[in-house]
């Protein structure tokens, strides 16, 4: 049987079939492993855009201590980060800087919009200097409502993001 299959004339077909089988066998566990790694290292860029950074700071404090999940560890360099937590209002002066920061980050990268101002503009829906939400600037993965959100809500948002990454196809 096998001898019939492995003929010189259909060796190419066999190799490509084998490749398919291998990819199918490895893809899922490998992708799972990659996603598992990404889930537990959601490190955000240290960019504070407005007042939600207060609750972001409180989330890293001793009471909520998000680092026990391995996420949201305040980090200095944006080249080693894969998460942007947009902490509040994006003004017209800040928006190009935010995009500049996002563009410099390596893939894969995720965005959490924290607070009403980052989602829709919130209180500042009629202000002359505030963008109505950051959807026009960055692609958002998870929305965390509140003004500012409680640290619990932020942790819940991060867990939603982890769920989302689990279901994503690792590349």
């Amino acid at each position: 049987m096998l001898k019939d299959l492995v003929m010189p004339q259909n060796a190419n077909v066999f190799v490509s079939k084998l490749g398919d089988i291998l990819v199918k066998a490895i893809d899922q566990p490998l992708g799972y492993a990659i996603n598992w790694g990404r889930i537990w290292s959601l490190w955000p860029v240290h960019i504070e855009t407005a007042c939600c950074s207060v609750e972001f700071g409180a989330a890293s404090g001793p009471r909520y201590d998000v680092e026990r999940f391995g996420i949201i560890e305040a980090f200095g360099s944006l080249r080693q980060c894969d998460l942007v937590v947009v902490q509040g209002t994006i003004t017209r002066k800040m928006a190009p800087r935010l995009r500049l920061v996002y563009d410099q980050m390596p893939d894969p990268k995720y965005v959490i919009a924290m607070g009403a101002c980052a989602i829709t503009g919130g209180l500042y829906f009629d202000s002359y200097n505030v963008l109505p939400g950051i959807d026009g600037v960055l692609p958002v993965d998870v929305y965390v409502p509140g003004c500012p959100p409680r640290p619990e809500t932020l942790i819940q948002g991060c867990m939603l993001l982890q769920e989302k990454i689990k279901c994503m196809k690792a590349r």
Partner: protein
């Protein structure tokens, strides 16, 4: 700190004008606090027609001056009356009167004056079609008298378009660099949906 204490500690430089001028404030009104009235009278005595007292309340005085005299009067307030810093510089747009009022809230860290705020107000001509910096909306800067107004005046320049002459650094402070609209705190600048 009560007003009676204030009066006894009053600095020697300030001469309290006791004679009732035609221009001085009528002291018969009981609700006018005494210490503040004396301060206002000091100004009236020295400048007479040049200043106009808007109101005298407890701990608050507001005087209105012409923009030609403001530097001179501010120097007097700073040197002789010991008001040493500015708490706020507020620009207010009055489109009907065609003027922009600028109010300097002056405070003092001297012991006897520390509860007082003297609001020194002046007004500039308002242009309907503003080009900040190059139109007639100009005022003399008080930066050389009160050093602390430097950033406040910069803010007033970008928000109301009032150019302060002799200000060393009339640049934009808070607004985005590419702001090309009319100054936002003017009344004819409408915000979204209103």
């Amino acid at each position: 700190m009560s007003n009676t204490q204030n009066k006894s500690n009053l600095n020697g430089d300030v001469h309290i004008h006791k004679n009732t001028d035609s221009n001085s404030i009528d002291k018969k009104e009981d609700d006018r606090p005494e210490f503040e009235t004396n301060l206002a009278n000091t100004l009236l005595h020295n400048f007479g027609e040049k200043i106009k007292i808007d109101f005298i309340k407890k701990n608050r005085i507001k005087v209105n001056v012409q923009k030609e005299n403001i530097v001179e009067i501010a120097k007097f307030i700073s040197l002789n009356m010991k008001f040493d810093h500015a708490e706020a510089v507020t620009g207010i747009d009055y489109p009907e009167q065609n003027e922009i009022e600028v109010v300097y809230h002056l405070g003092s860290y001297e012991d006897n004056l520390s509860n007082q705020i003297l609001a020194l107000s002046t007004s500039a001509i308002r242009e309907d079609d503003p080009t900040p910096g190059s139109d007639r909306t100009k005022l003399p800067s008080l930066r050389n008298v009160f050093y602390s107004v430097e950033f406040h005046e910069r803010e007033c320049f970008e928000m109301l378009g009032v150019y302060f002459e002799n200000h060393p650094d009339n640049r934009r402070l808070l607004l985005p660099e590419d702001w090309a609209d009319i100054p936002p705190l003017r009344k004819d600048f409408k915000i979204k949906g209103r």
